[in-house]
């Protein structure tokens, strides 16, 4: 019996080593990188340079704005889709698979798909010309119209990443026994009341997971933005990339990474705090 006690530890050891080596260590390295200069002295110079940079306020603004627009839009859409799916019995799997196709597309590819729509000789201009709304191709994604790039990024992100929220919520809905909804129905609740008073509260744990996951990923938005707008729509992850690659300055790049990490942690803690279910709160 005694020799068996270490077996569980032995079994989780590889994954622990893996995580420490490829996540914890780089994380620590990035943190150290952001607060030390090239000589290894402690400094806040990297953060100072980041904050003073011309692109920083816009990058911060657009990253937060994109997150604030994309995440709620995705959650509302995914919730609607998940509830609709629950209402159909025949052909349910077909809808499920079609709706989750975007999960298999890389974010850069998604960006390029939408670029082919919005670019000067793209599908959108061809279509508008075809029906006679415009005479010549319109330049949509230019530095003069960052709001248009913003809209294109939102469209691409919603198209690409709503499916992951959808899948989480479908799984969550399936975990709710149908008796709760039936009990509410018998005791007089309308479909609308059933949704607000029963389904939504019971779906909270899944919503929490979906929100945390999507918010963190939205704060890291990069490839879609690069494909659609280059640096005309600066975002935090993009700036980290430019500072590391173009400016050869890992310190400032690390400072950007630490900022993203900080915002993600704050957002996660907020979700955990605000969406704490009452059962847990009382227990």
């Amino acid at each position: 019996m005694r020799s068996e006690r270490y077996i569980p530890y032995l079994l989780i050891l590889p994954s622990v080593v893996f995580l420490l080596f490829l996540f914890a260590w780089p994380l620590l390295e990035a943190l150290l990188l952001s607060v030390r200069d090239s000589g290894g002295q402690w400094t806040l110079e990297n953060f100072r340079r980041m904050a003073a940079d011309l692109y920083f306020p816009d990058a911060l603004k657009y990253t937060l704005l994109l997150t604030l627009v994309i995440v709620p839009l995705q959650v509302v859409m995914a919730l609607g889709m998940a509830l609709l799916l629950g209402g159909i019995s025949r052909g349910r799997d077909l809808f499920l698979y079609v709706w989750t196709i975007p999960l298999g597309i890389s974010d850069l590819a998604a960006g390029i798909v939408w670029l082919s729509i919005f670019t000067e000789r793209g599908y959108l201009n061809s279509f508008l010309q075809g029906i006679g709304l415009i005479q010549q191709p319109q330049l949509w994604l230019s530095y003069e119209t960052p709001w248009m790039i913003f809209v294109a990024v939102v469209a691409a992100e919603v198209w690409r990443a709503t499916a992951i929220v959808f899948v989480i919520l479908v799984a969550g809905l399936q975990l709710i026994p149908k008796e709760y909804s039936e009990a509410a129905e018998v005791f007089g609740a309308t479909p609308w009341q059933r949704f607000w008073k029963v389904t939504l509260p019971l779906l909270m744990p899944s919503l929490q997971v979906a929100l945390i996951l999507r918010t963190i990923l939205a704060l890291e938005v990069f490839a879609v933005v690069v494909a659609l707008g280059g640096r005309n729509l600066p975002v935090l992850a993009g700036e980290a990339y430019y500072w590391y690659n173009a400016y050869q300055n890992p310190g400032v790049a690390a400072a950007y990474a630490v900022i993203i990490l900080g915002i993600s942690v704050v957002a996660t803690l907020l979700y955990l705090r605000l969406m704490r279910s009452k059962q847990e709160g009382a227990a």
Binding site: P177, E179, Y180, E182, A183, A184, E185, V186, F187, G188, A189, T190, Q193, K197, V198, P201, L202, M204, S277, K278, Q279, A282, A283
Partner: protein, 353 residues
Amino acid sequence: MASIRVENIEKTFGKFKALSGVSLEVRDQEFVVLLGPSGCGKTTLLRIIAGLEQADKGRVWIGDRDVTELPPRARKIAMVFQNYAVFPHLTVFENIAFGLRMQKASPEKLKANVERAAALMHIENLLERYPAQLSGGQRQRVAVARALAVEPEVLLMDEPLSNLDALLRLEMRAELKRLLAESRTTTLYVTHDQVEAMSLADRIAVMNAGRVVQYDQPMKVYQEPANTFVGGFIGSPPMNFLRLPVEGRQAKIESLTLDLPTPVSGPEVLLGVRPEDLEAHTVQQPQTFPAEVLVVEPLGPHLLLTLSFGKQHIKATVPPNFEVRAGQTLWLRPQPDRLRWLDPSSGQALMMR
């Protein structure tokens, strides 16, 4: 308060015929139990009355309202579910108040009804708790209190005690009986437990394979089963069925001849007799027949004997102090006023007394 009436209800799930033409009436203030083995359609019938399932054919009335087309919320019913379905995100108070909140009851009425229902179920001290902090028995009480709080016209219960352990079930059974006798709410109660049905019901509707096979008072159903299914399903151990040869207006068990209440056309007849209606003697007596004891099972209040009679087996119960061992021959006297005669091919009772 209201009666429940269903007429010619039919329901098919895919290829499975769950209900084939069920008609049933529950009188105002009556407590009716739907009893049957799993898959007999009893829960489906209850769900059709609740409106959670749509019948393919037939109509449902509550009182004098035809509710067939109405959604559950418009039927003025309350229901207790098998797994309680107590909302985990609401306190006990809010759970009990749920139906009243949906009706937009006044705050005074809401508070009064919740407190009265909670007091009836002895859970006044749990009102602020969440279901996760309650035991199974307490959750069950919340589910019943939630149903009573809305003062429904009819109360539907779907195996409400089946998830409780044996001791708690016994306690809740007696409590439910007292409670519903007091509140006089028309109740339809589904169970597969024949003891529960016997103990609670004003009338039992025994169901099998999508039909009501007998609908009568508990003791009638027990003593005068309509067919071999009812006799075998109700009672533990079940009723004995002995295949006996017929001579004129009499059936023969060895030396014993029994008068038949009605002429029988076939060469054989089925005698239904309950194990406790066989009086055992160690020596031959008038009006007895011999059988050999195969097994003796001491069960506490009585001994359960398995005997062989020709090629047929028969169960009999005798007092616990009765001296008997396997291999012995006993003489059994069937209580003449407790015999049930059935047709051996159809299994139906020959006549209703």
